[in-house]
């Protein structure tokens, strides 16, 4: 029955990987709102598609398990069965097994695992039987074998090819050699002084440079390729520990080299597990402390000049420096008199010492204590560092800094002082156009009425080039509204051009040029500077002595 399926294998694995990620996301959404009929329909369709695809490929185990899941959701979407948390747990286990079977398939070419017991549970649910609590299976721990399958996920375009990294590196090597050859050509021409040859060489150089950057861009993956699974992982961990934790992810669309992404996964997983087991308090504890019952873990990724900063912050119990210091002394990591001299920040550093642990027992999920030394060494293999900030009773942040040789970011191109410049989209709250008449003056500065406040306007043309923004033909002025924490700032530009994903070309920027964070080459060959809105605001505030943002 199965015709030659080998040519379809790659597409099958690519599609099923995307479907499984979506599946996890939708089930998580459904768990938050049992009435979400869109999620129910989509979950049904996804399991249906997985069943169909695996049947077509002759993968019977996958087909059977997917079918069992599909039947359950068919009943739910026809209102013949109600979704509840027991079903959620069983369904998640089914999905995890699907993942395992497929990973095995990918590795060995066979469905060597057996049909898991959860299949029968699913079938029984679909038959209308109720499952008692004892029978609900234990939450399967997210396997690290899921890691590879996800990292290999490529961009979500419909038309794409999968290219082994080795091939890309080979091509990049060739390009590297070509660049060297061209520069020899240039040297030779310095003697020949041939005009035409010079023009040709310059053009050639530009093309090969573009080729190089575009190829390096191909190696990039968004952070979301590893971060997407974290909400699910946290959900499973918190269920095990009886805690309530919410995960927020910001900035995961930042793209990094795939090798870097691969190296980040394990440290981030470690830090998050730590936040879950040691950082966040159980719900009753939090309520007693006057906090919200549900703890929050925020993952934030931000590009800063030539590096990416990723932070994992919890609003939990914070680090008890005294306890850490004591433990370190007990374990012989540091002498008592040295420990007494340490300030809090230095004390936190002790957790990165090999063998350090404050766990009273070997916790099932976090293993032997913290393992933070492993985190540090994984990060240093990509040139990254990690720092800890904490306030007792309020929470802890782990801040990772990873250097980049190249980064891709979304920016808004605008005209400032007649030049095209790039404004990072991550700093844009909204874009507005207002007629000149709506500008009010306060203290000699321009302001606009926004968010029920009078917000100061920073004229970027004036700030960067010392000449005020020119008006375009229309009567309206263009403003970018940014929010930094509780402050709202408005930047005036001459016009909005378009939003683009750009590759940031790294060159050395002197430390004292703070308002610009990099540069990029636009499609017409022109260079556009990339602004650093944060720094611009800081510098202006210092100048004006903190008048900004008053209502």
């Amino acid at each position: 029955m199965a015709t030659d399926q080998s040519k379809y294998l790659e597409l099958f694995f690519q599609e099923v990987a995307e479907l499984l990620t979506l599946l996890n996301q939708r089930i998580l959404e459904l768990e938050k709102d049992y009435s979400n009929s869109e999620a129910i329909d989509e979950i049904f369709r996804i399991t249906h598609t997985i069943k169909g695809n695996s049947a077509a490929m002759g993968f019977d185990l996958t087909k059977t398990l997917a079918h069992a899941l599909e039947d359950v959701f068919d009943l739910i979407r026809r209102d013949k069965l109600e979704f509840n948390s027991e079903i959620a747990d069983i369904v998640f286990e089914g999905v995890d097994y699907l993942d395992k079977i497929i990973t095995e398939l990918k590795k060995t070419g066979n469905e060597t695992l057996e049909l898991p017991p959860v299949t029968n549970l699913l079938r029984r649910i679909a038959n209308g039987e109720s499952i008692s609590d004892e029978e609900s299976v234990e939450i399967a721990e997210p396997d690290n074998s899921i890691q590879k399958a996800d990292i290999e996920k490529s961009i979500k375009l419909l038309e794409s090819v999968r290219v082994p990294l080795k091939k890309l590196d080979l091509m990049l090597n060739f390009i590297g050699e070509a660049i060297i050859d061209i520069s020899y050509l240039d040297d030779l021409n310095a003697e020949l002084k041939n005009r035409e040859l010079k023009d040709l060489t310059t053009h050639f150089q530009r093309i090969v440079s573009e080729l190089q950057y575009n190829m390096m861009k191909v190696r990039l993956l968004p952070l979301s390729s590893i971060m997407d699974q974290f909400p699910r992982m946290v959900r499973d961990l918190t269920k095990q520990e009886g805690k309530k934790i919410e995960v927020e992810i910001v900035g995961a669309d930042i793209e990094l080299d795939s090798k870097v992404i691969e190296k980040l996964k394990s440290p981030l997983v470690h830090i998050i597990r730590n936040a879950v087991s040691h950082g966040c308090e159980p719900p009753h504890h939090r309520v007693a402390l006057g906090k919200q019952e549900t703890a929050k873990i925020t993952l934030k990724a931000e590009r800063k000049k030539d590096r990416v900063e990723i932070s994992v912050a919890d609003d939990g119990i914070g680090i008890n420096a005294a306890k850490i210091a004591q433990k370190a002394v007990d374990m012989g990591i540091v002498a008592m008199d040295v420990a007494l001299e340490l300030i809090d920040e230095e004390t936190y550093e002790l957790i990165f010492e090999p063998g350090f642990t404050t766990a009273k027992k070997v916790s099932e999920i976090s293993g032997r204590g913290v393992g933070m030394d492993a985190v540090r060494s994984e990060l240093s293999s990509i040139g990254g560092i990690v720092k800890v900030k904490s306030i007792m009773g309020e929470g802890t942040s782990f801040i990772l800094n990873i250097p980049l040789s190249i980064a891709v970011n979304k920016v808004l191109l605008c005209k400032i002082a007649g030049k095209t410049m790039a404004f990072p989209s991550s700093a844009i709250g909204e874009l507005i156009r207002k007629p000149e008449a709506e500008i009010s003056y306060m203290g000699g500065n321009e302001h606009l009425h926004i968010d029920e406040k009078l917000v100061p306007i920073l004229d970027l043309s004036a700030i960067l080039y010392n000449s005020p923004s020119q008006k375009d033909d229309t009567d309206e002025l263009c403003f970018i509204v940014s929010r930094f924490g509780s402050r709202t700032i408005i930047f005036k530009v001459e016009s909005f051009l378009k939003e683009e994903n750009i590759v940031v070309k790294n060159f050395w920027i002197p430390e004292d040029i703070r308002r610009v964070s990099g540069a990029t080459i636009l499609s017409d060959g022109e260079v556009a500077l990339i602004l650093d809105p944060n720094e611009i605001v800081k510098i202006e505030s210092l100048k004006q002595g903190g008048e900004n943002g008053q209502g």
Partner: protein
């Protein structure tokens, strides 16, 4: 005796398999669609001789798409693609005027047999 075919299925793998089966024997796959709304748009743009329609698709249900197309083009030829277990939906489609159906997993012969029959070859 036309040979212009539109394939509607939200699984890329399925579309590719069907496309390969069809073009190998000389049919012309003039378009593909992933959702019900896309199917409606592409059908009216491309006016294919035959549309292969997955009964389970996002945005607009397969049967609804079938109904709308048949209303506009009563002699439209539509071959339903279905998985096992969608008997009710397939019956409904046939009653509404679908030209035939194939069940996944299918093989090349079964698909081509139905396609040839429907296109009256």
């Amino acid at each position: 005796m036309g040979n212009r075919i539109l394939i509607v299925d939200d699984a890329q793998l399925m579309r590719l398999m069907l496309k390969n089966i069809l073009i190998e024997v000389g049919y012309d796959v003039v378009g593909e669609a992933e959702t019900g709304s896309e199917a409606l748009i592409k059908y009216s743009l491309l006016k294919p001789d035959l549309m292969l329609l997955d009964i389970i698709i996002p945005e607009i249900e397969g049967n609804v798409v079938l109904g709308r197309i048949l209303k506009q083009t009563p002699d439209a030829k539509i071959l339903i693609i279905s998985s096992i277990g969608q008997r009710l939906l397939v019956d409904k489609a046939l009653k509404s005027g679908a030209s035939g159906y194939i069940i996944k997993p299918f093989n090349a012969e079964d698909v081509l047999k139905e396609v040839r029959r429907i296109l009256g070859e």
